[in-house]
């Protein structure tokens, strides 16, 4: 689980049926302590329509990303699971 900032949207009409109706975002992983960008941006699926451009989100990667979908199966590598309001 990583903190990331949504920096863009990926538009695609032709998608595998498992991710139909799910938006895809370009997210930049950030350091949770000083909020500085780190590593390269990745594409994350948003199965529960939580995020918009500019938001900070919690991203899960690898096997756990598929669990974010109601079907429990989707060919994705990263999913958005929380929209961050604030960090105490």
């Amino acid at each position: 689980m990583k903190l990331a900032k949504v920096i863009g949207v990926v538009w695609a009409t032709q998608k595998v049926p498992e991710i139909k109706g799910c938006r895809l975002f370009v997210v930049q992983p950030v350091n949770g302590v000083d909020m500085k960008p780190k590593n390269k941006p990745i594409v994350a699926a948003d199965p529960h329509s939580l995020a918009a451009t500019g938001d900070y989100v919690v991203v899960v990667t690898n096997t756990d990303a598929t669990q974010a979908f109601d079907s429990g199966f989707a060919p994705v590598n990263a999913s958005i699971v929380e929209l961050v309001d604030d960090l105490d």
């Binding site: 689980m1 302590v33 899960v60 690898n62 974010a68 699971v81």
Partner: protein, 100 residues
């Protein structure tokens, strides 16, 4: 598994149903002396940790699903222990760090 210090709490209102009623913290890995080493992760609380605690974090696919008894759990890293004391060997010296 890794040793980490709890740094911040993530406050979120819109979340995946599996995250309802659970706390997520920003944790930063530390070396055995308790000094912050750099890399930070997000981890879900399972032992009622607080900000500033040294904790053990870990996780594997499917673990969160079993312990929270959920059908779908997009959760990886969990805070699985709050550290009280660390004994380690630094060269030929045996060291103890008492945290609470």
């Amino acid at each position: 598994m890794f040793l980490a210090r709890v740094k911040r709490k993530v406050v979120a209102s819109a979340k995946h149903p599996a995250y309802n009623g659970k706390r997520v913290f920003v944790v930063q890995t530390v070396n055995p002396e308790g000094k912050e080493k750099g890399e930070e992760w997000l981890a879900m609380d399972y032992v009622s940790a607080g900000i500033g605690d040294i904790v053990v974090c870990g996780g594997a696919p499917g673990v969160a699903k079993d312990i929270f008894k959920l059908d779908l759990a997009p959760i990886r890293t969990l805070i699985i222990a709050i550290v009280e004391r660390i004994d380690y060997k630094d060269g030929n010296r045996y060291c103890t760090v008492q945290l609470r």
